[in-house]
Subunit: 243 residues, 2 copies
């Protein structure tokens, strides 16, 4: 059942050396593109990094040596208003690329595409891993991939035939993310205390990479540090988020 | 096959009056949550708008009278750092909510969740429609749903049993969105000319709502107007995109 497929998702970081053909890749991308797109703008591009030297550089810049080098394919998903620049120019107009709305549209469009790609790939037995580490060096990665103005790398995605599968990590309970009619905060105290126990148990008992940590503690440590503080300058330098 | 299911997606705007039970909704949300989340932050909330008066107001504010009122469920997907504020506070820390990186993380997380929800729902025979119109009045909608600081509505999602299905709209050809190793723009001229013909034919021959328009022309008209110019002030007012 599809729902079971979705619920079985866990990131795959180790792959066999079985290749993925262009035909297989294109089939997955076509399926991915069936996701909705705001006003049909389809504001995205995918860079398929096949060149070994570029893969190595991408791995280093993303601080991700294992997946990017080991996977059959390493893709970089980009928010893209450049193609739309062409579309507008054909009719003597220019895209308002700098608005916050259009930044949000492009980021959302690209994420919907990516998640649909993931579902398609996993349905074919592939394993995947999102690589947020691409945002560790968005400037150098943009240069590496020759991304023009109005195109920014959002995240990587590695995929291939899994060599090792991981246990599913328990998500927040539905009641913690679902609100009825109005946002309701008072429930968080109890629900997050309970979830901390769930996550502590998960980390203590999983087969590899055990640690002692609750969800809230991990979040507190991680999110209290300002990270990737260059991001606003980077996206502005690419023509986004001017206004 | 999952790939066929994905490729058959088209927005559904008219629904039967068959209800969706809370149990059915929760099952879909649980499946949706299996999508990856950056550093496991799960930076999202879903508001299920069941109150008739709020539904009417949401429909009006979104400028979407048909779907929001007619669907079994009208959900609003929100980027949410507020829950993480609670997590951090529990350990005497505060979230760096104002960074561009964390804005992107929350928007991407929410979009991945939503697309996984869509796939789960469609696999069960439901029809869905994303409602970008929620961003027509994000401030009033925030008030309507009592969204606190660090929570913003990104888009709505209506779903229910379809009363009318629509034809699939042809996407850009894979070659127009897929680049190998480096972004390649010179191919756009030919590919977009061809795609304009595909879209012109689609609009001319579809069973309803025929029009005479190419893709590039529609994009040029739509994107050359600055839209939702209030968005930066709105998200900043909610504590996002400060730096």
């Amino acid at each position: 059942m599809m729902i079971d497929l979705l619920k079985s998702h866990a990131s795959v970081r180790k792959y066999t050396d079985e290749p993925v053909t262009d035909k297989q890749l294109h089939e997955l991308i076509e399926a991915a593109q069936s996701a909705a797109s705001s006003h049909f703008v389809q504001a995205y591009s995918i860079i398929d990094v096949t060149d070994t030297d570029k893969r190595d550089q991408l791995a280093e810049l993303s601080k991700n040596p294992v997946q990017i080098k080991g996977a059959a394919r390493a893709l970089v998903f980009c928010a893209d208003l450049k193609r739309l620049d062409y579309a507008a120019k054909k009719h003597g107009k220019t895209v308002e690329a700098g608005t916050t709305e259009n930044f949000m549209v492009a980021v959302i469009d690209t994420a919907l595409l990516a998640q649909n790609f993931v579902v398609a790939a996993e349905s074919k037995g592939y394993g995947i891993c999102y690589i947020g580490g691409v945002r560790n060096n968005p400037g150098p990665i943009s240069k590496l991939l020759n991304l023009p103005e109005h195109v920014i790398p959002l995240f990587g995605l590695t995929f291939g035939v899994p060599a090792q599968t991981n246990e599913v990590k328990p998500r927040l309970p539905v009641q913690a993310i679902l609100h009825t009619n109005e946002y309701e905060e008072t429930k968080y105290e109890t629900l997050l205390d309970e979830y901390d126990n769930v996550i502590r148990d998960y980390y203590a008992s999983r087969s590899t990479n055990n640690k002692s940590a609750s969800w809230t503690e991990g979040m507190a440590d991680y999110l209290s540090e300002p990270r990737r503080s260059y991001m606003l300058d980077f996206v502005k330098g690419k023509g986004f988020l001017k206004k």
